[in-house]
C-alpha cells in the first residue's frame, strides 16, 4: 500500500516500575492511510493513549520506554529516531491534540502568541506573517472575531473555543497525520458535535490522516473509516466502522456495543461487561479477556490467541476464529463450560 502514512508494526512499549515490567502496549500493529480517519477504541487503561504517545516518542520516560517494534511514518522508522529528528516531525508532520483543552494552553501567553510560536517553530516566517497566518487559522477553525481573539488569553475562552485553538495550532503546519487523544471527552455534547464536524471538515479539505483515540463508540460511528479495538495493551479487533458496529466478532467488542444505551429497547438496566481490565504483567498467560469472557473455554486460559483474519481485512484476536470449521465446536464448548 503506497498511501499508508503511518504503520505500527508489533510495537511494544513497556513501563518499568518498582513492581515489575508492565507491557502497556504489547505488540500493537495497525496502519493509517492518507486522508483516513482511524479510531482506536477501548476502556481506560487499555493502552490507547500510550500507543499514541509512543508514535510521538512522548511516553513519559522513565518509567516508559519503547522496547521493540516499528513505527513507520512515510517509510521512516520513528520508534528509535533521535530526539532531533522527532522535534522536526512533532507539530510539523504529526500533530497532536489532547483531552483537556482547559489546560493545554499556557495561561500566561495570549492565543496569538502561542499560535505564532507554533507556526514559527517549523516555518521561516516573520512575526507579522505568522500573526496573519494565526488569524487565518483561527478563522478556519470557526472562531468568531478571530482578529480579536488572537490577542486574548486562554482564561477568556470557553473549553470548546480552546479546543478549536488547539486544533488551529495543530493544523497550522499542515501535518499529514493528526493524533487526537480523546479530543471531545472533556466537552459537552453539543460542543462535541461541533468539534467533530470541524475535524471531519479539515480531514476532507486537507486530506489529513487522523488517528482518533476515544472510548466513545458514538464518536467512532460519527467520525471513523476504520476502527482498531484495543484491550489490555493488545489489538483485539480491527475492521471498517460499519462492519465492527454491525457485526462485532470479538466478545469484547460485542460487550462494548451491547453496553451502549439503546433507544428502541425498554430495558431498565444498562449492560456492562463484568469485571475490570486486568493488570497485565510480563508473565500473563492466556487470552487477556478470558476472565471476563462468556465464551471462554479451556484453551483461552493457557494460550494467547493471535489476530485471526476473519474476513477480508478484518481481524479478531479470539480462538473462536482460529479455524472456521471449528467455530461451531468452539462456541459449543464455551456454552458447555458455563452450564
Amino acid at each position: 500500500m503506497s498511501d499508508t502514512i503511518l504503520e505500527l508494526n508489533n510495537l511494544h512499549t513497556h513501563f518499568f516500575t518498582d513492581s515489575g515490567e508492565i507491557p502497556a502496549v504489547d505488540g500493537v500493529s495497525f496502519h493509517v492511510n492518507k486522508g483516513e480517519v482511524v479510531g482506536v477504541v477501548g476502556e481506560s487503561g487499555c493502552g490507547k493513549s500510550v500507543t499514541s504517545l509512543s508514535v510521538m516518542q512522548l511516553v513519559p520516560s522513565p518509567p516508559g520506554r519503547i522496547v521493540s517494534g516499528e513505527i513507520n511514518f512515510k517509510g521512516e522508522n520513528l520508534a528509535f529516531a533521535s530526539e532531533k529528528r522527532m522535534r522536526q516531525i512533532r507539530g510539523n508532520e504529526i500533530a497532536m491534540i489532547f483531552q483537556e483543552p482547559m489546560t493545554s494552553l499556557d495561561p500566561l501567553y495570549s492565543i496569538g502568541n502561542q499560535l505564532v510560536e507554533a507556526i514559527r517553530m517549523h516555518n521561516k516566517m516573520s512575526k507579522k506573517e505568522a500573526r496573519l497566518k494565526a488569524i487565518e487559522m483561527l478563522d478556519l477553525v470557526g472562531i468568531p472575531r478571530a482578529s480579536e481573539v488572537v490577542d486574548e488569553f486562554p482564561h477568556q475562552l470557553s473549553g470548546g473555543m480552546r479546543q478549536r485553538v488547539m486544533i488551529a495550532m495543530a493544523m497550522a503546519c499542515d501535518p499529514e497525520l493528526l493524533i487526537a487523544d480523546e479530543p471531545t471527552t472533556a466537552l459537552d455534547v453539543t460542543i462535541q458535535a461541533q468539534i467533530l464536524d470541524l475535524m471531519r471538515d479539515l480531514n476532507k479539505q486537507k486530506d489529513t490522516g487522523i488517528l482518533l483515540i476515544t472510548h466513545d463508540l458514538g464518536v467512532v460511528a460519527e467520525m471513523c473509516d476504520r476502527v482498531v479495538v484495543m484491550y489490555a495493551g493488545q489489538v483485539v479487533e480491527e475492521g471498517t466502522v460499519r462492519e465492527i458496529l454491525k457485526d462485532p466478532k470479538h466478545p469484547y467488542t460485542k460487550g462494548l456495543i451491547r453496553s451502549l444505551p439503546n433507544l428502541h429497547e425498554k430495558e431498565q438496566k444498562l449492560y456492562s461487561i463484568p469485571g475490570t481490565v486486568p493488570k497485565v504483567t510480563m508473565d500473563s498467560v492466556g487470552c487477556r479477556f478470558a476472565p471476563r469472557c462468556e465464551y471462554a473455554f479451556g484453551r483461552c486460559f493457557s494460550e494467547n490467541p493471535a489476530l485471526y483474519e476473519t474476513e477480508d481485512h478484518r481481524y479478531a484476536r479470539c480462538f473462536l476464529y482460529d479455524d472456521f470449521e471449528e467455530q461451531e465446536v468452539a462456541t459449543h464448548a464455551g456454552t458447555d463450560s458455563r452450564s
Binding site: 510521538m56 512522548l58 522513565p62 522527532m86 522535534r87 522536526q88 516531525i89 512533532r90 507539530g91 510539523n92 500533530a95 497532536m96 489532547f98 483531552q99 483537556e100 489546560t103 493545554s104 494552553l105 499556557d106 495561561p107 500566561l108 495570549s110 510560536e117 507554533a118 517553530m121 517549523h122 468568531p144 472575531r145 480579536e148 490577542d151 486574548e152 488569553f153 482564561h155 477568556q156 488547539m166 495550532m169
Partner: protein, 310 residues
Amino acid sequence: MKTSEEQREQLEDESQVYNPNPYQEEEDVEAISPWKDALKQLRKSPLAITGFLLVLFFIILGFVAPFVSPYEFDGDDPINRLQPPSADHWLGTDDIGRDIFTRLAYGARISLITGFTAVTGALVFGTLLGIISGYFGRWVDMLISRIFDILLAFPSILLAIAVVAILGASLTNALIAIAIINIPIFGRLVRSKVISLREEEFILAAKAQGMKRGRILLHHILPNSLAPIIVQATLGFGTAILEAAALGFLGLGAQPPTPEWGKMLSDSRDFIQLAPWTLIFPGVSIMLVVLGFNLIGDGLRDALDPKMKN
C-alpha cells in the same frame, strides 16, 4: 483604561439584557493578561499599598540622606554626645555625638542594598538549582535536594556565622552568607513548582509541537513558576534585612563606623536606660522596613493567587 467602578457598572448593565449573540461587535472585550490582572488586584489592597509606601519612604530617605542632613554619618562630636531628640538633632545623638537621623538615613541605603543583593543572589542561584533539580529529576534532583536539606538543617544564623567566620567579618561577606542560607528556600520552592508544571498538559502540548527543551524551560516553565518566586523574594527581603541586622549586632557584619542598623543597636545597648532613643529609632526602622516588605509580600501573594479572586 477604565476604572473598576465603571467596569462594574457596565457589567451590571449588561447582565440585565439578554444578549442573543454574544459574539457581536463589542468593543469592551479587553485582553487581560494574568500579570496585568494581578497588578490590578494589588492596587486594590490597602495593606499592600501601606507596605509599598513604607518601603518607598525608606528608599527616598536613603537617596536624600546627604542632602537633608548637615551632619556626616561618621562625624563624632563628643560635646554633644547622648543628646535627646531636639531641633538640631531630630532623633538625638549617640555615645560619641553622631547624629542618629543621619546615621539612620545612610543606614537605610545599607539595609536596602543588603536586602536587594542578598535576595537577588539567593533568587538567581536558588531558581537555577530548583529548575535543574525539578526538570531533570533522578540523580541530579537527588543531589541538589540533599544539599538543600543539609543547608536547611543548620539554624540559618549559625550557618551565616560559620560563613562569615570563614570569609572574615565584613558587610560583603555577611551578604554572601545571607544569600547562601536563602538559596535552599528559593530552590525548594522552584523545584516543587517545576515538578507540578512538568506534568501539565500544556507542557506536553509544547513538546508535541516539537519545542526544544530549553525553550520549554525558559518560555513556559520559568514564567509559570514566577508568581511564588516573586512573593518569596519580597518576603525574603525583610528576612534578609533582619539577618543582616542580626549579623551586624553580633559584630559579624558591617564594621564601624558604617551606620548599619543592627550595628547601631548593639553599640547603643549599654545606654538603653540613659538614652533610649539611641536604641529605639534603629529598632523601629528595622521593624518598619521589614513590615513594609512583608505587607507587600502578602498583598502580592493574594494578588497572584487565582483562588483569592473575587
